[in-house]
Assembly symmetry: C2
Homo-oligomer: 244 residues x 2
């Protein structure tokens, strides 16, 4: 009655949004925001009544999120928020290192002055959050910074793949440690160096710095796990050879 939104956009919304897609988005939000933790069980009826839809759309959203790697289904038992093992987190880091190295090389070759200004502005914001010791802000801005760099690399499939991996990584139980307070200043310096290398159009350097940046995150992960779990048999650089 009172809203004055463009009518065309409302029509657009009604035409494109199915209940399934809305349920899917809401679940994805809850998972990435941590409201749903790895291992949590999702009850169809409960969720359906909570969102005021029937079980059909809920089940369809389940199948989509299962394929996206965020949920896990056990037949006749239910669906659960997937939990990512240390080994899997490690594999994702290894993949990200490869992808981000490519991103660095590409950006050094194709960055525009506007994009460069944008990245520098994001680094300023990151520095401010670091100085203010604001972990939440820092984590969010750090995510946005990396996401934007991948986007600027200009390969849609790469962006899709990258986002998928990052989303899965948030399901690693101890993920919070990767944004440890002590890591913020070092990480900020690395960000500056990366953008500098891009600005100076040095693909090799930019690629190497990106790869090393990710691998340091990976190292922090291992260090934290070893520190927490003690003499646990931590996974080596890569996972054992697959056989099936």
């Amino acid at each position: 009655m009172s809203r004055q939104a463009p009518l065309s956009s409302e029509i657009e919304i009604l035409q494109s949004q199915s209940l399934t897609s809305l349920v899917q988005r809401e679940l994805e939000r809850r998972i990435t925001a941590g409201e749903l933790a790895p291992g949590d069980k999702l009850n169809e009826i409960e969720l359906a009544s909570e969102l005021n839809v029937s079980r059909g759309p809920v089940r369809e959203a389940f199948r989509a999120l299962e394929q996206a790697g965020l949920l896990r289904t056990e037949k006749n038992r239910g669906v659960f928020v997937r939990s990512v093992s240390l080994q899997e987190a490690d594999e994702i880091y290894a993949l990200r290192a490869v992808l981000d190295e490519y991103v660095g090389r590409q950006l050094a070759q194709r960055i525009t002055p506007e994009a460069l200004r944008e990245l520098r502005a994001m680094i300023e914001a990151l520095g401010a959050a670091s100085a203010a010791r604001d972990l939440d802000d820092y984590a969010r801005l750090n995510f946005a910074f990396h996401d934007r760099m991948v986007e600027l690399a200009g390969n849609g499939k790469l962006l899709e793949t990258y986002r998928r991996l990052v989303k899965e990584l948030t399901l690693y139980r101890r993920e919070a440690l990767s944004a440890a307070p002590t890591a913020m200043p070092a990480s900020t310096r690395e960000h500056r160096d990366i953008v500098s290398a891009i600005a100076s159009r040095d693909p090799e350097l930019a690629g190497r710095l990106m790869r090393e940046h990710v691998e340091r995150g990976r190292a922090r992960l291992h260090a934290a796990v070893q520190g927490q779990a003690g003499a646990d048999t931590a996974a080596p650089a890569d996972t054992p050879a697959g056989s099936a």
Copy 2:
């Protein structure tokens, strides 16, 4: 009544296979086998009665395959087999080049004698198919060879990502051209060189050869498209910078 399969496996099957997963697998088979072509519309009722299930499982399978990138849904219009544009195919090739380079480097570092024998046996089979001018066999063996190499790299997420990309690539309309008859001998030689580099434990060389191997496939794609479409404005190395 007459089958003598292990009972435990049948129980396992009954417990793990839902109708949804079976429908999903069947659709995936039809798509990758080419029985369903890009752009084809899938009718829920028709498909359901054909597979002797109701529309529920069919719709759930649709959502999963949509997330997998094999189907596209238009609300109230239906679901269609997705078609991959030249630009997208190009992006996938670029990504594969990056991933396969990593695979080459990894294999040179971690390959076992058994795995090496296996790869050499696959190359023999590829050579035989090439000599016999058997395109179907060659394409199948070529796929298996690359898939196995990625698997041997020992990173499950990498394998998952790679397979996803390859599956999507089969949706590129003119994909058949990538296995052009003239390309078989050259490709066979490249395969031998790659395995040799791996056997000699030279990560740099193996990585470079893998990357170049994929990029030659990409070049063949462009050449064929240009040859077919004439003076079309073919996409450059990478896609334009994303903005959203």
